[in-house]
């Protein structure tokens, strides 16, 4: 049997474009992630986060925790990571992340989910094929408690409407 012609295979497209971000639209981000002690040790050591709360369980217990604390930067990176397909995979860099609040500690075994709401958008003055979108994101643990909130703004590519 000859190999198929891959050029006929339709692309499974990912990501949204500027036109998809109507103000107020909410996205429940995919997957969720259980953060393990291994994830935490890898992240906190690879980024040299030399605070013993994140990798010394005895030290963390002496400071009122039941185990090590998940590095809050890992929580932030994971929530942003899970939001990328909905918000920013369509193209365009970060313009900024503001007002990041870590509301309560996350522990190994906790499962984090994220959701975002479009809170503002406008055309880019200098780049006609892009717009600027701001989202408010919140992340919760498996008990429904908010662990993280932040605002993110990106340059977002517009969908090119076909020209006739």
């Amino acid at each position: 049997m000859p190999d198929p012609d891959f050029s006929t295979f339709p692309l499974r497209k990912k990501g949204n474009r500027y036109q998809d971000f109507e103000e107020g639209r909410t996205f429940e981000h995919h997957w969720g992630r259980t953060l393990s002690e291994a994830d935490n040790a890898l992240f906190a050591t690879a980024t040299m986060r030399f605070t013993p709360l994140y990798f010394n369980a005895e030290y963390a217990r002496a400071h009122g925790h039941g185990s090590v604390v998940i590095d809050p930067l890992l929580v932030l990176c994971t929530v942003v990571g899970m939001s990328v397909e909905d918000l920013s995979e369509g193209g365009g860099p970060f313009l900024g992340v503001n007002d990041v609040k870590f509301h309560q500690p996350v522990y190994p075994g906790d499962t984090i989910t994220g959701r975002s709401r479009v809170v503002g958008r406008r055309e880019s003055g200098s780049r006609p094929h892009f717009g600027i979108v701001t989202w408010e994101t919140e992340a919760r643990n498996q008990h429904g408690n908010v662990v993280l909130t932040y605002q993110r703004t990106n340059l977002v590519a517009k969908r090119r409407e076909p020209t006739r």
Binding site: F43, T47, R49, L53, L73, C77, G81, G96, V100
Partner: protein
């Protein structure tokens, strides 16, 4: 005792507004920091991990995920700013000022913006501003961060 595990010079009392720090170590961003951490946190944007696709882009190569850059810069600053932290409270005004590529080396600088009492008397809050530069001096990241830090008066030996 836990006091032997952390430096005696990173308690709340050791910070004052206006204090500046150049942190001692720099680090190169390689596959572990870029590709592994990007995928660890489920970031699906292949501009961070498909070299051949990015060769055809205006950047000519993979871009490092901005929050890997930000986390690494804050990481380089962490021993000097949060070794005696009880909690990291938040971040603000994070800006990703120039692209970072695999092979770039990052250095971190910090200024103390403010110190203030916390809502508990064994710790105080310090607000830091961090900057990250790469090997040619270009600023690639800046951001502010608030940390709840132990007071020596309560926690020191």
């Amino acid at each position: 005792m836990t006091t032997a595990l952390t430096s005696p010079s990173t308690y709340f009392e050791d910070f004052a507004a206006g204090q500046k720090m150049r942190h001692a170590r720099s680090t190169t961003i390689d596959e572990v920091e870029s590709q592994l951490l990007t995928k660890l946190v489920l970031n699906t944007a292949d501009g961070h991990f498909d070299e051949h696709k990015m060769k055809a882009s205006p950047f000519g190569q993979r871009l490092v995920f901005g929050l890997v850059t930000g986390s690494t810069v804050i990481g380089l600053a962490t021993q000097d700013t949060a070794e005696n932290a009880l909690a990291e409270l938040g971040l603000d005004r994070m800006r990703f000022r120039a692209p970072v590529f695999l092979g770039d080396s990052l250095t971190a600088y910090t200024e103390v913006l403010e110190t203030r009492d916390a809502d508990r008397d064994d710790a105080g809050v310090v607000r830091f501003k961090h900057w990250g530069t790469k090997q040619d001096g270009t600023i690639v990241f800046e951001g502010e961060r608030e940390v709840l830090i132990k007071r020596r008066s309560h926690w020191g030996s």
